[in-house]
């Protein structure tokens, strides 16, 4: 009886295993790299019905975020302004009111406009947490977390894009180490704020008023430490008694 299997089949099983292994590794590497909000969401830059330029309004003109996003301090949802808020500056006879870019605004509000429809402007929402995650804007901005922490430097974006991943591990990074995010309450909407902008003496006086300790003692205990976000954040965390929840029910009801 001759050989049923020719000689080249001796290593076939091993070769198939090697090939499958290589293929599997590539698939896993692909999933690891791209099946995450870091890939699927970061950089999302949709076109809006009106090409609203944040770098002009919030950057060059220095308007406060809350001029338009009026209810961010009171509501879980940071609102998109109603057309009336745009109209305050871009209504008839005011700034750039004839610009063709503002067509959807005039269709929504200008009753004398020939193409008036009354339909609201359909802005495209970029930042979406899953519907089972209940993020609350107001608790964050009222406890020293700046807009810039989650949205990036919007005041330098001509077209706003998704800057952070907003994944769950990303949330937890900050909930476990809140000192890397906390800043004085009057600088929440100042997206260019740096720890160096804070006057140490004023800061210690503020802390002393909050905690009842003496400003000199606080200052002495920090001697030799670097003046940075972590130092300021740790002080504020203590003064405000900030304990970000890490249990499931914090965000998932």
């Amino acid at each position: 009886m001759g050989n049923i299997f020719p000689r080249w089949t001796n290593l076939l099983a091993v070769k198939i295993l090697i090939c499958l292994g290589a293929l599997g590794t590539c698939v896993i590497a692909l999933a690891w790299y791209s099946w995450t909000p870091k890939y699927t969401r970061v950089g999302y830059m949709p076109q809006q019905p009106i090409p609203f330029d944040h770098s002009l309004h919030a950057g060059q003109l220095g308007m406060d975020c809350r001029y338009c996003h009026t209810f961010v301090e009171n509501s879980p949802h940071s609102n998109v302004p109603s057309a009336q808020v745009c109209w305050n500056c871009h209504g008839p006879g005011k700034v750039k009111s004839d610009s063709p870019k503002l067509e959807p605004l005039r269709q929504a509000l200008d009753e004398n406009y020939e193409k008036y429809t009354g339909d609201p402007i359909r802005w495209v929402q970029l930042h979406k947490t899953p519907d089972y995650a209940y993020f609350d804007h107001s608790v964050h901005v009222n406890r020293g977390v700046s807009c810039v922490k989650c949205h990036g430097k919007v005041n330098e974006m001509p077209v706003v894009y998704h800057h952070e991943s907003l994944s769950m591990s990303w949330c937890l990074d900050c909930h476990r180490n809140p000192e890397q995010a906390l800043r004085p309450m009057d600088q929440i909407t100042n997206l260019d704020w740096e720890p160096e902008d804070l006057e140490p003496d004023e800061f210690y006086a503020y802390l002393a008023g909050k905690t009842g300790k003496s400003a000199d003692d606080l200052k002495k205990s920090d001697e030799g430490k670097e003046w940075n976000q972590e130092l300021i954040g740790a002080h504020l965390q203590q003064a405000w008694n900030v304990h970000p929840p890490q249990d499931c029910a914090a965000c998932h009801r």
Binding site: C19, K38, L61, Y67, H77, C89, D131
Partner: protein, 206 residues
């Protein structure tokens, strides 16, 4: 096997080229593999509704019903705010700045005018009023710097300084001339706080 690895290499290069690195800008709706529970069929903030005929997601209370916690402006609580987030309701002085057909003088009795109230007014003024009226109230805000439109009112000149409190409140609420109404975005309490701060600016300019 050589062929396999050659094809795999080509496939890897093609995929990496097609997908691009993390953080690249794109404008298509982001890809979601399992959107089931991520996108639930429920009413969300500022979203339209397919359920109601008019397509509006934000609903008014059904006629004849009162939401829990809501105070009627006419039911014996004139001059009172149910929260700091009342936007306008009654026809009393607190909500209108008017006594009958006349602008009222002085602040409503229910408001306590203290340092915190002024600080609140300053903050709200700098958010809402500064773009046109300027930080100091002189009408030379950023708008006046860039665009040749009719100038904003100078809040610290004699004309506005002579205005009764109720008139400033009424103007913030309803707007005047080119200025739009701000009753939808600045709460009643904050409007009075802004009035107080504007008067502080006037006092400071003398």
């Amino acid at each position: 096997m050589r062929w396999f690895f050659l094809i795999l290499a080509i496939a890897v290069v093609a995929t990496v080229y097609a997908l691009g690195p993390r953080g690249e800008k794109f404008s298509e709706t982001p890809f979601e593999l399992f959107p089931d529970m991520d996108r639930q069929y429920k009413q969300k903030y500022q979203k339209p509704s397919q359920f109601f005929e008019d397509g509006k997601g934000a609903r008014k209370p059904v006629a004849g019903t009162v939401p829990i916690g809501f105070k009627f402006p006419h039911a014996g609580n004139e001059g009172d705010l149910s929260s700091d987030l009342d936007y306008s309701a009654g026809d009393d002085y607190l909500n209108t700045g008017l006594f009958g057909d006349f602008y009222g003088q002085g602040f409503p009795e229910t408001l306590e005018i203290d340092e915190d109230f002024l600080a609140r007014g300053k903050e709200r003024y700098q958010i809402t009023c500064t773009p046109c009226h300027g930080d100091s109230g002189n009408g030379q805000g950023i708008v006046a710097k860039y665009w040749a439109i009719p100038p904003s009112a100078n809040l610290i000149d004699e004309r506005v300084s002579a205005m009764p409190e109720g008139q400033i409140f009424w103007t913030i609420t309803h707007g005047k001339g080119l200025m739009g109404p701000y009753n939808g975005v600045v709460s009643v309490r904050d409007r009075w706080a802004i009035v107080a701060y504007v008067q502080a600016l006037q006092a400071g300019s003398k």
